[in-house]
């Protein structure tokens, strides 16, 4: 069966510090990978998605970047965090090519607090 791991679960970082959140998927090949951010009590905002190794699409101009160094690994990064980067970050995967009706499968999320 497929599983998705996201870490860390919580993170408190000072303004100006770097960020690295990691997500890995097991049990499937060539997944589509996504990073979402959720503001408190709100819906999900898509930040980045990837349909292949090394391919990243950005949805929202921001202080963050993403990378996909391996087929089932997705990393969210920042060189210098801003206060506005605080939030709940969710990694997700869905079926790749041809799996158009595949739902999203989410990790447990990372609560990031920038102080």
């Amino acid at each position: 069966s497929q599983t998705i791991h996201q870490w860390p679960a919580t993170l408190v970082q000072p303004v100006g510090s770097p960020l690295s959140l990691e997500c890995t998927v097991e049990g499937t090949s060539n997944p589509n990978l996504y990073w979402y951010r959720q503001a408190a009590g709100r819906g999900l905002q898509l930040l980045f998605y990837s349909v292949d190794i090394g391919q990243i699409s950005s949805e929202v101009p921001q202080n963050l970047s993403a990378s996909r160094p391996q087929d089932r690994q997705f990393i969210l990064s920042s060189k210098k965090l801003l206060l506005s980067d605080s939030g709940f970050y969710l990694c997700a995967w869905s079926g790749g090519m041809g799996s158009y009706n595949s739902p999203l499968h989410f990790g447990n999320g990372t609560r990031l607090t920038v102080t």
């Binding site: 819906g43 998605y49 949805e59 041809g98 009706n101 989410f106």
Partner: protein, 116 residues
């Protein structure tokens, strides 16, 4: 761009009763998929139910069913025999069906409270 609107920020239901959560969407596409996701207090998002736009029959999953009105662009979720474990935030989501990227657009969610 597609938009998804959930007009009910909060809903409550008595245990064992039925509740309906509303969702409307705006799209010019003809090929798409609709989903309802549940986010309990643990914040783990899980799929509740999905609907293919080309199917006229409403999807059902045990106590969960949808009322899909394609012309009206409406996709409501009905929860029957509500249980305490149904208390969560529910999100409606839209996904285009003609692209591999499969980006999903989410509504702002409806918080459901179940009263014992």
């Amino acid at each position: 761009a597609q938009t998804v609107t959930q007009s009910q920020p909060e809903m409550s239901v008595q245990e064992a009763e039925t509740v309906t959560l509303s969702c409307t969407y705006d799209t010019s596409e003809s090929d798409y998929y609709l989903f309802w996701y549940k986010q309990p207090p643990s914040r783990q998002m899980i799929l509740v139910i999905r609907q293919e736009a080309y199917k006229q029959q409403n999807a059902t999953e045990n106590r969960f069913s949808v009322n899909f009105q394609k012309a009206a662009k409406s996709f409501s979720l009905k929860i029957s025999d509500s249980q305490l474990g149904d208390a969560a935030m529910y999100f409606c989501a839209y996904r285009r069906g003609d692209t591999n990227a499969g980006k999903s657009t989410f509504g702002d969610g409806t918080t459901l409270t179940v009263k014992p």
